[in-house]
């Protein structure tokens, strides 16, 4: 039985999805800047469109997670409800999927700090809850999920601050 159109997911080859990594050998080499091994638009970051900035952040986050030892399972898992930016797996807990939401903001000359993670509002958490249930329904290999948030403030062309919120929120009952 095919799932109804509403729940239809857009799959895709993981290999293709990881095409943005220019130099796969340097992924585990922490002496190389992440910005040097990912594909980026050739213009100053202040001229990035919102979409380009978001994509850039997701790529940085993916590399960060790979360097941390997580196994990247899926990128931009989509269905009609929305999108899960990154799905990774902790080798120590192979039955648990970690759903990562990446929030990227530009923070060039601002005096007050930019806190991208504040954009994960209660309404969005509710959306992630539904997405997570759907993801679990399509992936029987997992029995639990964890919600992480990665907040990236891009400060200059090759400099950004990154915060990884582990288990950022839970879904409690009423």
């Amino acid at each position: 039985m095919t799932p109804p159109y509403f729940y239809k997911t857009i799959g895709g080859d993981m290999k293709e999805k990881l095409d943005f990594i220019l130099n796969p050998e340097a992924v585990k080499d922490s002496s190389v800047s992440i910005f040097d091994i990912i594909e980026r638009p050739e213009k100053p970051i202040e001229h990035f469109s919102a979409k380009e900035l978001g994509k850039d952040g997701e790529r940085v986050a993916t590399l960060y997670l790979m360097r941390k030892g997580f196994e990247v399972v899926d990128l931009n898992w989509e269905c009609k409800l929305g999108e899960i930016d990154i799905v990774v797996k902790d080798p120590e807990h192979p039955r648990s999927a970690i759903l990562v939401e990446v929030k990227t903001r530009l923070s060039l000359k601002r005096t007050d700090p930019v806190i991208p993670e504040l954009n994960v509002t209660v309404e969005k958490q509710e959306k992630y809850r539904e997405l997570a249930l759907l993801y679990l329904a399509f992936h029987k290999e997992y029995d639990s999920v964890r919600f992480d948030v990665i907040a990236i403030s891009e400060v200059s062309q090759k400099k950004a601050s990154l915060r990884h919120l582990i288990n950022a929120f839970c879904i409690d009952g009423e």
Binding site: R95, S96, L136, D143, S144, V145, C170, I171, D172, G173
Partner: protein, 500 residues
């Protein structure tokens, strides 16, 4: 994924009653989160955040599963923060982070702090007593005094990090062996000058647990006299002190001095509400009459109390317990107290004072005195006039009776009464005077005064019992005429407008 249901025993308060709760925890796959069912109230729901922070602080792992917490029985509303600890224990046991074996032999009650520290909640004494009744070992952070007073088994867990080890390996809680002598709280009748008659009346009241009303002008020392009353009362028995301390514990008041044997002394302000006096609120708390259980309820400025509040005292005084009915059911609190009251004789306070002129007219005095009302006066056995002390005696001081002397008198009188009653050996006698062991001349004095003063039946029987107490103080086996004469002196004044 296999099922891991873990049950942990706990309890919660309903009035002064303790009801058992079983905290059941089930883990299931899916979204991470904690879900509490079984009629929790807001404080119980907030336990989720406290439990999560406490677990994180003590380096336990937060389960990545859907945690369902059930509080059985599910049909009663659970209140309070005492369920934090059992919920945390059940979750930790279900996730295999602490040993599961033997948990059913413990009763857990305690509130969690964000660092995993466990603190006491109100009603600790009641929970410990309940655990002892159920043959469980209490587990939480009570005070050593409370545990040793009940002599119950207890494991002291002041942080959830202690649970990593098997509970049976934890040492039993140390007993508080320090014996606290009855402390007189620094108040002594020595400080009250020129009030020997009132002191005598208080001694009689203490010896026979009679209700007492002091009437006098402002500044005569009524409040001073009443405040020193606990210093002449005999120490509470163990059973009494636990009963009283349990109510204080449930109300969230300090009970250390009561566990030390001191009778409680409650003195509500005259702006108190009915609920404050007899109990009420949500969650239901005992009122001042219950806090005065086995001790003294002192109502200063009796006439200033709203009459509805005073009328609400009638049932607790009569039945020595308060029953409050709510939609959810009845709550019963014990309230066996001794009433001590003080009032001015009139609004200005100087009625009957030889040195001041009273500025009130008859109607005002009448209205003021009627506020107290007959039903309350009926339950007051002794009325004593407190006059202003003489100037010279206040300034120079005067050695009068001190608390130690008065207390000795009270103790002897109680002992004598107990001995006398044992001697009577349950011989059932129908008449009041025979029961109280009146001598013939004493009975005649009572009969004659009853007729000449036109005393009512209730008033007569009150005088008769007060005279019996005085006879016990004087160590008379049979009540003598002088005992009756003294009792007649302390009867309610006709001028107070109260049905004598």
């Amino acid at each position: 994924m296999s099922r891991h249901v873990v049950c942990v025993k706990s309890a919660f308060l309903r009035g002064v009653e303790v009801l058992p709760v079983e905290v059941q925890v089930d883990l299931s796959g899916g979204l991470p989160g904690i879900n509490i069912v079984g009629m929790p109230d807001v404080a119980v729901l907030e336990a989720r955040s406290r439990v999560r922070c406490a677990m994180r602080a003590q380096e336990y792992e937060i389960p990545r599963f859907q945690v369902t917490v059930n509080l059985a029985p599910g049909s009663v509303r659970k209140m309070g923060t005492g369920l934090d600890l059992p919920i945390a224990v059940a979750i930790l046991a279900a996730t295999g982070q602490i040993p599961k074996e033997g948990l059913d032999k413990y009763l857990f009650v305690g509130e969690l702090g964000l660092m995993g520290d466990v603190s006491a909640v109100r009603g600790m004494l009641a929970y410990i007593a309940f655990a002892k009744e159920e043959n469980l070992t209490f587990c939480g952070a009570p005070s050593a005094k409370e545990v040793s007073s009940i002599d119950a088994a207890c494991k002291y867990v002041d942080n959830i990090s202690l649970l990593k080890k098997r509970l049976s390996l934890l040492p039993d809680m140390k007993r508080d062996e320090e014996v606290v002598e009855q402390t007189v709280l620094g108040l002594d009748y020595r400080d009250v000058v020129d009030q020997e008659v009132a002191k005598r009346a208080l001694t009689i009241a203490a010896a026979g647990r009679h209700g007492l009303l002091m009437v006098g002008p402002p500044g005569s020392g009524k409040t001073m006299l009443a405040k020193r009353m606990p210093s002449i009362l005999p120490a509470l028995s163990t059973k009494e002190s636990i009963e009283s301390a349990l109510i204080h514990s449930v109300a969230g008041c300090d009970n250390a001095h009561i566990l030390g044997g001191n009778p409680p002394f409650a003195s509500p302000h005259h702006s108190s509400t009915i609920a404050g006096l007899i109990g009420g609120g949500n969650p239901m708390r005992p009122g001042e009459v219950s806090l005065a259980h086995h001790g003294i309820l002192f109502l200063d400025e009796l006439a200033e109390f709203p009459s509805s509040v005073l009328q609400s005292l009638r049932q607790p005084m009569e039945s020595k317990k308060v029953t409050i009915t709510r939609v959810q059911g009845d709550y019963t609190f014990p309230s066996d107290f001794q009433l001590i009251a003080a009032t001015n004789p009139c609004p200005c306070g100087y009625l009957g004072d030889p040195d001041h002129t009273c500025t009130c007219n008859a109607a005002m005095v009448m209205k003021y005195q009627n506020k107290v009302g007959g039903p309350i006066m009926d339950r007051i056995d002794l009325v004593v006039d407190v006059r202003r002390p003489q100037v010279s005696k206040v300034l120079e001081g005067q050695a009068g009776m001190d608390s130690a002397t008065m207390r000795a008198t009270v103790l002897q009188a109680r002992e004598y009464a107990a001995w006398r009653q044992k001697k009577r050996d349950g011989a059932q006698k129908s008449s009041l005077l025979a029961r109280l062991m009146y001598s013939v001349p004493a009975a005649n004095v009572l009969r004659n005064s009853g007729m000449s003063l036109k005393l009512g039946g209730r008033s007569l029987s009150r005088i008769a019992t007060v005279a019996r107490t005085i006879a016990d103080i004087n160590k008379h086996v049979e009540v003598a005429p002088e005992d009756v004469s003294e009792a007649l002196m302390f009867r309610s004044r006709v001028s107070l407008g109260v049905a004598a």
